[in-house]
Every structure is written in C-alpha cells, then in structure tokens.
C-alpha cells in the first residue's frame, strides 16, 4: 500500500513562479512554449515522482507542442498539476489524456487571453497613461508599469490556483458562463470610446485647402468641415484603414500605404 503523495501550496506556487518568469524564454517555431511548460512542471514532478524513470516520463510528456496565452492560459497548468497529483497516487491517467486536456484548452484560452490581455487591458491602460503623459506628467509611464504588473500577475495567479483547485470545472465556468461575455463586452465599450479619444489626440489632420470665393477666402477646414463635424478627417481615415485591416491587408503593407499617402498629401499641400 502506497502512501498518498500530496502537493503543498508552496509546491504549486513554485511551479507558477517558473511559468511567471520563463513562459516565453525559449519561444520557438517548432514547439512554441514546450520547454517552458515542462520547466514549470519540474518542482511538481520531482515531488510526485521520486523514481527517476517516472520523473523522466513525466517531463517527456510535457515537452510536446504547447502554445497558449501565458496569463489566462495558466489555468491549464493548474489543471495539469491536479492531474499529475492524481496520477502519482495511482489513478490511471494516460499521456494521451494529458495531451488531450492541454491541446484542447490551449486554443480557446489563447483566444480569450489574447483578446483580454493584449486587445483590451493593455490598450486601455496605455491609452489612459499616454493621455496622462501628454499632459507633461511623468506619472503616465509609472502608473502604467505598476497597474500592469498588478493586473496581469493577479489574473495569472488566480487562473493557476483555480485550475489546480477546481480542475476542469474551472475552465468550463470560464468558457461557458455568461460572465466572460459580459466582461469582454463592457471592456469593448470602454475600449472603443477611449480609442475614439486617441483619434482626436493623435491624428491632428486638418486640410490646408482654401479657395478665393470672390472677395472672401473660403477655408475648407474651418468654414465647412469643422461645421459639419469636428474630427471628420481623422475619423474617416481611421475607418478606411479599419476596413482595409478587416479585408486582410497586412499591417506592414498598410504602414507603407500610410507613409506614401502622408508623403503625397503633404507634398501637394492637402495637409
């Protein structure tokens, strides 16, 4: 009769810290975050499998292709740790089961994670802190640094610990509950509003075109466009670029187009 092997909270935290640091350290085209995943599992594996061959087999199963968003995807690691603990205590969990869980969850969580961390939280925090900086205030970059560390670390740690504690149920809650939709929708409203604010701040395009109409000078910007809707040119430019992005024109190509457009309109005196 075997004694039960249990992990302490400290073991789970040690494992998390390795992922927190080195998730992208050896990011590569062949297996993406594979070595980082296995690296983060080492403290758990060494504790659970005193037998060298068992430990080796455990590391090897986690050296397979793995790629997710490191913050929200951390729930997968939590689940994996819980599974390893059960396996070490005699539950017949196959390598295929580990792989199934990991590859099945990494895609959806990468989608949600990238949207939340790179698409919503970071741009909103940036927009606010860029705004603060622009008022000649150095608090901008400093607040940004502190806030990002606090937000990202706490999301990742919560994901990791909940994955370990609640296992698969945790993910089902995240993926299937209405909560995540509500959060993403609310954040999207905030995000789009703030993006609009940035258009006004950072795209100060005003046309220089003017005509002489009889005795009076007619300035296209002040006499017509500003009366129709201020910020019409920056708004139109952004919407045109957006429609091209949606059509699949690559960002690098769009940069080229914008640089050319800026050069031509600048030389012609349109702007």
């Amino acid at each position: 009769m075997q004694t039960t092997k249990t992990l302490t909270k400290n073991d789970v935290l040690k494992s998390w810290f390795r992922w927190y640091m080195f998730a992208q350290s050896n990011y590569n085209y062949e297996r993406m975050q594979a070595t980082a995943f296995a690296h983060s599992m080492l403290p758990v594996i060494e504790k659970l499998y005193p037998d060298k061959e068992d430990a080796k087999a455990a590391v090897q199963r986690h050296l397979s292709f793995f790629n997710t968003e490191p913050v929200c995807g951390a729930v997968i690691h939590g689940i994996t740790i819980a599974m390893e603990e059960e396996k070490a205590n005699g539950k017949p969990i196959t390598d295929g089961a580990f792989n199934g869980i990991k590859t099945g969850l990494m895609g959806p969580l990468a989608g949600i994670g990238d949207t939340l961390t790179q698409g919503i939280i970071t741009p909103i925090m940036l927009a606010i802190c860029i705004g603060i900086t622009n008022n000649q205030n150095l608090a901008g970059p400093i607040i940004f640094l502190i806030a990002q560390f606090a937000i990202m670390t706490s999301i990742q740690l919560t994901m990791w610990m909940n994955g370990y504690t609640y296992g698969k149920k945790a993910v089902e809650q995240i993926l299937e509950g209405g909560m995540i939709n509500k959060v993403i929708e609310g954040a999207s409203i905030l995000g789009t509003l703030v993006m609009g604010g940035l258009v006004g701040r950072f795209i100060p395009l005003q046309t220089l075109i003017s005509f002489d109409v009889g005795q009076v000078k007619f300035n296209l910007q002040t006499d017509l466009l500003d009366k129709l809707m201020p910020g019409l040119i920056p708004l139109a430019l952004t919407l045109i670029v957006l429609s091209m992005v949606k059509k699949g024109v690559s960002p690098i190509k769009l940069m080229g187009i914008l640089i050319t457009l800026g050069a031509v309109t600048g030389i012609l005196g349109i702007f």
């Binding site: 990011y27 296995a38 909103i124 993006m195 640089i259």
Partner: protein, 253 residues
C-alpha cells in the same frame, strides 16, 4: 546632444531586457511598450519627460500590437528604445520621431524571426538531456541558451544603431528643407490610424462602433482628456452591460 557609448549600451541592455524573462512575463506588457521604453531611454539620456512624450507618440502606432501564435507586426520595443534615442539626440519633434521609428520597428522583426528559429534547436537539446535522465538540465536549457542568443541578437543591433544612428539622422536632417519636415509631420499624424484600427478590428463591432464616434467627438469637439473619457467609458460600460444582461443571467449572448 551627444550620445556616449555607455548610454547607447544601457539602452541596448534595456531593449534586451524588454524581451527577456528577467522582468517576469509582465515585462512583455510593460518594458516592451514604447511608452515605458521612451521613459527609460529618456532617463538614460537625461530627458525623462521628453523621452516619455516621444514614447507615448510612438506607442499609439503600436496600440493594436498583438503577438499571437508567434506572428508579429513589427517590433514596438525596438521602435520605442531606438526611435526615442535617435529622436532625443537629433531633437526631433514627436510626429517626426513617430515617422522614423516605424521603419526601425519593422526591420527589427527580423531579430524576432531569427530568435524563434534558432530556439527550436534548444528543444532538441532538452529532448536529449531528458532522455539521458538529466531532468533538471531542462531548467538550464529553457533559460540560459535562449537568453544568451536573445542578448546577442538584441543588445548588439540596438546599441550599434543608437550609437551610430544619430550621425545618419542628423546628416539626413541637414539636407532636408522645412517642407520635407512638414511631410514627416503629416506621416506621423497618419500612422496612429493603423494602431487604432488594429485594435478596433478586435473590439469594434456594430454594437460598439457608435462609442468610437462618441469618443472622437468628446476628444475633438469637447476637448476632453483621455482620462475623463475613460471614466465616462467605465460608467457607460457598466450601465450598458447591466441593462443588456439584466434578467438573462448565464445565457450566452
């Protein structure tokens, strides 16, 4: 302003650190962004506020920057550190700094691709060591070889461009007339449209786009600060979601 080799090397080191694990994974969300890059470069060059302002401008272009599945649209960090350094030394205004940073960031994507390719070899090294039973070796392989490689492909190019670049930029500026500089200003004013559009591709839809138009009006017509607009955004987001989701909890929309 003259840039010493030590200053150039410090900027190179921070550029390396911004892609490294040493600031934890959150380094990617902080030291990697041009806002922070500009601030740090400014501190190294003795002009923190100017640096932060230039970094803030460059960052708008990369607002929609998303690195997903290893694909990249340029290197915002390179544009941030190197672009700010060149702009400060050559006394460029923010719009011109933005215009010169973008090509820098685009070229630097090559460094990322090189790293991602060579790193694949280290995975095989890890396979071999684990096969031999050296399980702990994996920790070493996941950290040190890729970091030495990253240091070489990031520190060296960034330091060299920061150290030798200002001559090229000032040579370029000398032959430029004010009208050419005006063209740079126009380009600098157009590029943020890309960063904003990239982000809107993700969060903009028929339901949220009216809020985007509202944001433009608040900023251009009512001349509100981003901070005030963000606070209004939070109020709107809370109100709208609680209205839309009231009474249909746990239902996918």
């Amino acid at each position: 302003m003259h840039i010493s080799f030590l200053q150039a090397a410090l900027i190179g080191i921070f550029y390396y650190l911004s892609w490294s694990p040493w600031f934890t994974y959150v380094g990617f969300f902080t030291f990697n962004r041009p806002l922070v890059a500009g601030f740090i470069t400014g501190i190294i060059l003795g002009q923190p506020l100017e640096g932060a302002l230039i970094g803030a401008g460059i960052n708008v272009i990369y607002l929609g920057f998303i690195s997903a599945g290893g694909a990249q649209m340029g290197d915002p960090s390179f544009a941030g550190y190197v672009g700010t350094a060149l702009a400060l030394v050559s006394n460029l205004d923010v719009a011109t700094a933005m215009a010169i940073s973008v090509p820098l960031g685009t070229i630097a994507t090559v460094l990322w691709i090189a790293k991602m390719t060579v790193n694949s070899f280290f995975v095989h090294w890890a396979d071999r060591e684990v096969e031999k039973g050296n399980v702990r070796r994996l920790a070493f392989i996941n950290v040190f070889p890729p970091q030495i490689l990253l240091f070489l492909v990031s520190f060296i190019p960034a330091t060299l461009v920061v150290f030798y670049g200002p001559d090229a930029v000032s040579g370029m500026l000398r032959v430029m007339s004010p009208s050419v500089l005006h063209v740079f200003t126009v380009i600098g004013a157009m590029l943020p449209a890309l960063g904003i559009a990239m982000n809107l591709k993700l969060i903009g839809n028929s339901f949220t786009m009216p809020f985007f138009v509202l944001g433009v009006i608040l900023s251009v017509y009512f001349k509100q600060d981003i901070l005030i607009i963000a606070i209004m955004g939070i109020v709107l987001a809370l109100t709208v979601t609680s209205l839309r989701y009231s009474g249909k909890k746990d239902v996918n929309v």
